[in-house]
Amino acid sequence: MPTVSVKRDLLFRALGRTYTDEEFDELCFEFGLELDEITSEKEIISKEQGNEKAEGASDVVLYKIDVPANRYDLLCLEGLVRGLQVFKERIKAPVYKRVTPNGEIQKLIITEETARIRPYAVAAVLRNIKFTKDRYDSFIELQEKLHQNICRKRALVAIGTHDLDTLSGPFTYTAKRPSDIKFKPLNKTKEYTACELMNIYKTDNHLKHYLHIIENKPLFPVIYDSNGVVLSMPPIINGNHSKITVNTRNVFIECTGTDFTKAKIVLDVIVTMFSEYCENPFMVEAAEVVFPNGKSYIFPELAYRKEIVRADLINKKVGIRETPENIAKLLTRMHLKSEVIGDGNQIEIEIPPTRADVIHACDIVEDAAIAYGYNNIQMALPKTYTIANQFPLNKLTELLRYDMAAAGFTEALTFALCSQEDIADKLGLDISATKAVHISNPKTAEFQVARTTLLPGLLKTIAANRKMPLPLKLFEISDIVVKDSSRDVGARNYRHLCAVYYNKNPGFEIIHGLLDRIMQLLNVPPGEKKGGYVIKASEGAAFFPGRCAEILARGQSIGKLGVLHPDVITKFELTMPCSSLEINIEPFL
């Protein structure tokens, strides 16, 4: 969930009233926000870097507010205030309009070289805007929030904002060899080639995270004005030449990306939020974008979409009984201007360009429910009549667990993921013999594979509990995973039962006795006949030679038991003899 940090006093001034922290928290809760933290710049710095560094930092109170991940229109103070004011019916939702300039329209021409790296671009102009320090900071912060969220860390969309008065259109969005791109980037005093910049930014804590998006690509995206001035090299950095300041009056906004829909949404969000400060509030100057195929589009889209939803559907989905008029009122409070039309049961809802999250009637239903107040909804029990069934494998597992404990063994709960070493080297096996599934992106060796046996987990549990009095008797009934090409995903689980006995003597007879007890519980008689069970001398890399037997039950091999090999004991950092048993319980379902 993105967190937006706003100055409390600024927020209250914009809301036209003050709240206590509790009151504001309550308002947030109702609206689906969360007042996450109340802090100040000073407090943040002092927490992160110590009191000394915080000396002199601002102690203006900040509200950190968690915003739902799909509400891009609430990612800045301007949007939060507008949302809450409309919710509280203190203002009406503004109407956003795209206007064609009296003079020449700003033009952005996309060349075909961009096709393979970052094919889409959209643009718009905020004309005669008036920034203040706070507004300017909010403008920059909103771009950062969008970059981190809907833009997927600039991979899908990157935003560039420029002082239009320093540039001269038409603009060209193209892609060039990095060595052929040279400009003075934001906040630098000299020119660098794109190659040089990629090197310089490797150590930049902020920008280094975006380099991979274009790194190693033959061509880098770049935007020029008609005089060859570089506006930006998306998604990395803007040029210094067109840098905006508090005094900038006319802002040219370009968004480039690999996802056209998201680029349009991002542009809409920025212009709807900040056109508030234009000479003609909520009016956005159009820009023309010419695609390589020659087609030309006008942006921002600022599209209003209409949906018609029946009031009784909303009532039925939420579980309330409101009149269509009331529902229309509720929706209007959620920034969805609505009116009753047709037969009096239909509601026409206007979805503004700020609400890209509304893509289905169910989104409208939710907004009606929020405005109604979740906690005002009458609770009811569904009349769904059903007979409960347990999953047979889990049912058997539950029964066995209790009797394993009754047999004196203590239950362990070990990880399903482990290192290759745990399931192979330490058990004297080659990894290729395990049929293990391998993880492609483990952060540490602990998560290289899914376990193919429960034994390593139990041995590690003993190793971590060597201070406990002997004997240690442990068991686990859980799933292991192996590759299996007969399954849709190419792998499957097996439910295993594993037990270990760790003491000054190997205690094979104890583990053997446990097997006899398990078979008794499963109603499997001893002997090879009539679906009984036997154990037969066998060998296994993990076992001491001559101290290992295979367990055959109901005509199939279900596992092994025996005394562990001293090498295995040592590799798991244990010192005492140990015997173990591991079987697949699925044949007993």
């Binding site: 981190q148 979740y374 909804i377 769904t384 539950e398 209790y402 952060k443 190419g490 792998a491 689980n493």
Partner: protein
Amino acid sequence: MADGPVAEVLLRQLATADGGLDSAELAAKLGVEHQAVVGAVKSLQALGEIIEAELRSTKRWELTAEGEEIAREGSHEARVFRSIPPEGLAQSELMRLPSGKVGFSKAMSNKWIRVDKSAADGPRVFRVVDSVEDEVQRRLQLVQGGQAEKLGEKERSELRKRKLLTEVTLKTYWVSKGSAFSTSISKQETELSPEMISSGSWRDRPFKPYNFLAHGVLPDSGHLHPLLKVRTQFRQIFLEMGFTEMPTDNFIESSFWNFDALFQPQQHPARDQHDTFFLRDPAEALQLPMDYVHRVKRTHSQGGYGSQGYKYNWKLEEARKNLLRTHTTSASARALYRLAQKKPFTPAKYFSIDRVFRNETLDATHLAEFHQIEGVVADHGLTLGHLMGVLREFFTKLGITQLRFKPAYNPYTEPSMEVFSYHQGQGGTWSWEGEGCLRLPTLSPGPFHCQAHSQAHCQTQHHPHDLPCPSPSSTGLRKWVEVGNSGIFRPEMLLPMGLPENVSVIAWGLSLERPTMIKYGINNIRELVGHKVNLQMVYDSPLCRLDAEPGPPRTQGTA
């Protein structure tokens, strides 16, 4: 023991004593060691209320061995004086006497004797006075007679310096009659024996009382793991509510079932390498239900079923990527798809509790794998009010009665609601801590103290798995804290499966670890889950009774 002769004498003496008697005095009277009387007192005490004994400590002066010798034989100087005949004695001869050296110098300083160094055969010692008073002997005899108090402080300290006197602390008992005083006591039996039962002799025998303050011997037994004890209770709750258990025995899942089928777009941050474990081998799912896949593809990329869709280029290869399931909702999707294939539609209630995996950075409250609890109801005409009603019943069974619902965003439910419970403080319902995105407690003021972590998770989290932070939960929070997440599955997820249009599916989820850690007071998840578990904790953990009011901590030995 208690029937020893000393004990019997003690009881007889006590019977006639006025008020009580002193153990040391009794010892002196009987001519036995004081320790023997003390032993008798203790064994009588063990029998109950026969006697009462009060420990007293007294200080007393006693003679040292040398002091006793002097009291008997006289001081060294007096013995020197007495050994000198009227004609004197050669000094060398005098020095050979046992008290010679010490007695000589003391007698000299007392001016009882003199030395004639001019004598012909060497120095010779003569008496100066006719008779002497042996003060030292007299004083020591006083002490010996128990009259040390007759000596002055200075005199006693001088004798102590000469190591003739010493002060000892004597612990004695003041013994008086107990409420069950009796002079006739007999040997007590310790245990009932088969012989006593058969002979009936138990009727006439007194039995030694048990010490109920001692600990019992714990039985040898196995133990179930606390987290799985809680799992059993959650299963029980679902079964009581008529929910059928879904199969979840497939840790490996395709991206299709884990994400695409849930209408989670392919660029969603949860599908990032940073958040999800993908598989190298087997890297891709071999089979997908292609008809259904096409409907899912169309819904994502173009919309349909009343949806605008996400309008992006949906890729099959992305859907084929295998992963370790990030939620059991993938199993719910499979179950709902199977349900959709059954005609006509039959209502269903499903649940599951099983492991899920996240490529997390590990810490005290986060592991790469945890258990997710999920409940699902599919029926015609289910409402948000129904979801809230089911949640109320479910949480009531957990002992959580005060619920509140907050609007939230989940990618595959709409409407979505987070479930909050009021934490009443100690002794109330469970001590839930701030859920949400909680890594570390922050000390700043404010109703919700938590710090955001990986944004992707919060965007994906249909089912928050964050665990309680190790902050002072025992003090009681008196605030609303999140206990679960819920919603109604989006039509874009259900309709491509083939479920009828008027069927709604409500669902909710929570993690198993979080309530378990709270229930068992565990702050570090690694002590609970995984091989670093503290087995002593497993041995000691009580029953899991989710709806039982937490009582005061019970310890053995308190009545």
